[in-house]
């Protein structure tokens, strides 16, 4: 352990060299800006800046790319909270409570909480990276298809019931999301499902298009001509931007829990950030003493998902660096960049390229500090943005959405997808359906199906595998418990209602009781 500390000290020495620091800063600033622009994610940014790294020494190159990655996570929260526009799908959940906070004039506070949670979670993630990499990797291996299925199932059940309003509507929307998730090519047989002859749909609906359409465009369509986001000349003072002590205390434990969820999912390749933030949010809601306040501006609803997203981002690096297996597309790109530089990621990366590894780890922390320093003063400026009249603000946002979505895959079809989902989302919102569960169903559905079939394939069709494996059994048990509780509550409520209905009496002339009277 002390060896790790010595190496870390060495790493700080590398990270704080002027040259490396400058490139780190550049990456972080670019990442932050990219995060604020809707649709254009870190993937496009890293992809475009990759050629810059050819002539650079590998250490600053990777620091810059990594900086873009986690910098964009910071920026993504800003749009989600202030404009109900998740610039990046994982931040869709932050919209649910962040935007109501903005409407209450507490946008700055929400941003402040988001920043603090992010920094806290990132720091924890880095600590985990340093001291617990082997542990996390071994845990990740224990999660096979059966376990992943059980977790995802629990996530679906929890998430379907997480939105305020009638549970039936939440479940209906989750199912709708599941249906949308079905679109695409089936991985087991190669059949195209629900593509209606569009080759572009062969890979499924693009998540960025779905998130931006349902959250951003739908909201805009509904609020055209109707709403000023921050009404009155709200003077946003520095005091308003710093969350009060009470709010910090409220947000502390959700932060910690969110970090834990993010770290857990970060170690498992194949689970995206979107799932992580949803589960963190759902978890908070389920264990909260006052679940009704979620969706109306609960601080916990901002702290937990943000923490989860950031700790996942940091922990994501572990399987990439130590096993050479990328957790998601951005990691794959960074992996590619490493290989072009001539560095083979794997177990011997730490020993062969100690300056790279430890310098990178140290630069994560330095980068996060830089981001905090950058963002906290900027909160005021972002909030002032809202005073731009709606008629200029939202069309520009739409333009950025269109450009951002196009830049993901160079495809106009996807821009059309955003529009389509925007219209669908607007209709659903008008009918008072919650749209967040759609995203959840969309993300979890394919994973549940894939893992279910894969687990059965591996167990040669034996269904008992889900309860035979201990971790999976635990999650299945929790799911069953959840369903039982819901059914139990419903039955109890129905009985209570029946008892309070006035008893019906037969009208006869006599006062004599008969067997027909309720005794």
């Amino acid at each position: 352990m002390s060896q790790s500390l010595i190496d870390l000290w060495y790493g700080f020495g590398v990270a704080l060299e002027w040259h490396n620091l400058a490139w780190s800063f550049f990456g972080v600033v670019v990442g932050n800006l990219i995060g604020v622009l809707p649709g254009m994610g870190p993937l496009s940014a890293i992809s475009m800046l990759l050629p810059l790294t050819y002539t650079m020494h590998p250490v600053p190159a990777i620091m810059m790319l990594a900086g873009i990655f986690y910098g964009s996570q910071y920026g993504g929260a800003i749009g989600a909270i202030l404009l109900n526009l998740p610039c990046h799908p994982p931040h869709a959940v932050t919209c649910l409570d962040g935007y109501p906070l903005t409407r209450q004039g507490k946008g700055g506070t929400a941003l402040g909480i988001a920043m603090i949670s992010s920094f806290f979670a990132a720091s924890c993630g880095i600590v985990l990276m340093i001291f617990a990499s082997p542990l996390l990797v071994s845990i990740a291996f224990k999660f096979g298809p059966a376990e992943l299925f059980s977790i995802m199932l629990l996530g679906l059940l929890a998430g379907g019931t997480m939105s305020r309003g009638p549970v039936l509507k939440g479940v209906a929307m989750t199912l709708f999301g599941l249906l949308i998730g079905v679109v695409g090519t089936d991985i087991n047989t190669g059949t195209m499902r629900f593509t209606f002859g569009f080759p572009k749909l062969g890979d499924g609906v693009e998540i960025v298009a779905l998130a931006l359409g349902l959250f951003g465009v739908a909201d805009f369509l509904r609020n055209v001509n109707r709403l000023q986001v921050v009404s009155r000349a709200t003077h946003v003072r520095l005091r308003d931007m710093r969350p009060s002590w009470k709010e910090l205390k409220q947000a502390f434990f959700p932060m910690v829990r969110g970090t834990a969820v993010g770290a857990l999912f970060g170690g498992m390749p194949g689970t995206g950030s979107t799932i992580t933030t949803f589960i963190a949010y759902a978890l908070e809601q389920k264990i909260s003493r006052n679940p009704k306040k979620f969706g109306q501006g609960a601080i916990e609803g901002v702290a937990a998902p943000e923490a989860a997203s950031h700790s996942k981002t940091q922990v994501d690096f572990i399987p990439t660096m130590s096993l050479g297996i990328p957790g998601d597309a951005v990691m794959a790109l960074i992996l590619g960049a490493l290989m072009i530089q001539g560095i083979q990621p794997g177990p011997q990366l730490i020993t062969d390229h100690a300056d790279l590894f430890w310098g990178l780890v140290a630069s994560f922390w330095v980068g996060n500090i830089l981001l905090m320093l950058l963002n906290v003063p900027l909160i005021g400026i972002w909030v002032k943005f809202l005073r731009v009249p709606y008629r200029y603000l939202y069309p520009s946002a739409l333009l950025f959405i269109a450009v951002g979505v196009y830049s993901t895959n160079n495809s106009l079809f996807e821009v059309g997808e955003v529009l389509a989902f925007g219209v669908i989302g607007a209709i659903l919102l008008a009918l008072a359906f919650p749209v967040a569960p759609i995203l959840l169903g969309f993300v979890l559905g394919p994973m549940v199906e894939d893992n279910f079939r894969r687990a059965l394939l591996l167990s040669r069709g034996d269904m008992a595998v889900f309860v035979q494996r201990p971790i999976s059994a635990v999650f299945i048990a929790i799911s069953v418990l959840l369903i039982a509780l819901q059914v139990g509550f419903a039955i109890r409520a129905a009985i209570r209602r029946r008892k309070s209905k006035p008893k019906a009496f037969r009208v006869t002339g006599s006062t004599q009781t008969t067997s027909h009277d309720n005794a």
């Binding site: 291996f141 597309a329 394939l457």
Partner: protein, 330 residues
């Protein structure tokens, strides 16, 4: 205080004059320099990130040889058909090229009912790489050679699992062909590619895998994976002791995936010639050799005509494999 009256420079006359000048400039015969005089795009069919390493290595050196920047653009989807269709429909001026994978030309037309373009709209300019695969087993299996693997699988019909990247993908077909030739029954378990199949073998969920060098190198070095043989016809420089599948016992089994640069069929011949010459130089250059070495590809080059012949022969081979595997067009 009155401002001295300034003559307004932007009069109607000046506007008209400048517009006229602009219009006239369009008539100046485009004194085009020789090809290329503007950046060239290589379109790849993988989402930004996954398959870009190879394209970027080539783009860097090719750009230096041609004197113009070469950029990589991603149009993922539909197993490569989106990218291929995009290039097939673009202008044949030599500025849009496709990084084509052998499966686009050989198997996609048989797997997809409608690939979205006519194969005749694309002409191959040169092959650029070959990627053989390694047959890997989980290190906990008591299998150290191909013969042992075949014996192990024969003793457990329907129990050995092979991680693949989805039906119709080259790895899946290679696995099916292996089954047929070796006479064993193994179960193909599809994953979504991107290293997930390698993860499965690392974690012990699947027994074997046909993997690209880049995906499995780290696993081999950590000791959790054991390479058995190479699926191509050449031994890999990273593992000089590893026999090829043909040497190890399965005669006539030679599968690697190759990549090429293709251009729209309407590209004029002199442009294609120039491009071809630059590509040959690029693939022979030491930077590309070194770069490809790291990601496990063999750089090669050849003429378009050779490649067309190769496509024709290999298509027939794959047709047989697909029929035996029972894969029908989607």
């Amino acid at each position: 205080m009155d401002e001295p009256t300034r003559r307004n420079v932007v009069t109607r006359r000046t506007c008209l004059a400048s517009l006229a000048a602009l219009a006239a400039s369009a008539w100046i015969p485009a004194a085009r320099a020789d090809y290329p005089d503007s950046p060239i795009r290589i379109i790849i069919a993988f989402p930004a990130g996954a398959g870009e390493a190879e394209a970027r290595i080539v783009a860097k050196t090719l750009g230096a040889k041609l004197g113009q920047p070469v950029i990589v653009e991603a149009h993922p989807g539909a197993g490569g058909n989106i990218a291929a269709a995009y290039v097939a429909k673009s202008r044949g001026d030599g500025y849009t090229l496709l990084l084509g994978v052998s499966t686009f030309f050989e198997t996609n037309p048989m797997i997809y009912r409608d690939i979205g373009y006519k194969p005749a709209d694309l002409q191959p300019v040169s092959i650029i790489s070959e990627q053989p695969f390694l047959l890997i087993v989980n290190a906990s299996l008591p299998v150290h050679s191909l013969q042992e693997l075949i014996a192990y699988a024969r003793a457990r019909p329907g129990k050995v699992t092979n991680a693949t990247a989805g039906p119709g993908s080259p790895l899946d077909l290679i696995g099916k062909e292996f089954m047929v030739r070796a006479g064993v029954q193994i179960i193909n378990v599809p994953y979504k590619g991107g290293g997930e199949d390698a993860m499965a073998v690392l974690g012990g969920f699947c027994d074997m895998l046909f993997g690209g060098v880049a995906d499995v190198m780290a696993g081999i070095q950590s000791g959790k994976m054991r390479p058995i043989c190479v699926t191509g016809s050449r031994r890999l420089p990273h593992f000089p002791d590893l026999p090829t599948i043909a040497e190890a016992g399965l005669q006539g089994y030679d599968f690697s995936v190759w990549n090429c640069l293709s251009a729209p069929a309407s590209t004029p011949a002199p442009v294609v010639e120039k491009l071809h010459a630059a590509i040959v130089q690029t693939m022979a250059s030491p930077e590309v050799q070194a770069g490809f070495d790291r990601i496990g590809f063999f750089p090669v080059s050849g003429t378009g005509a050779e490649l067309s012949r190769r496509i024709a022969t290999e298509t027939e081979v794959w047709r047989g494999v697909l029929k035996k595997a029972g894969v029908a067009p989607q």
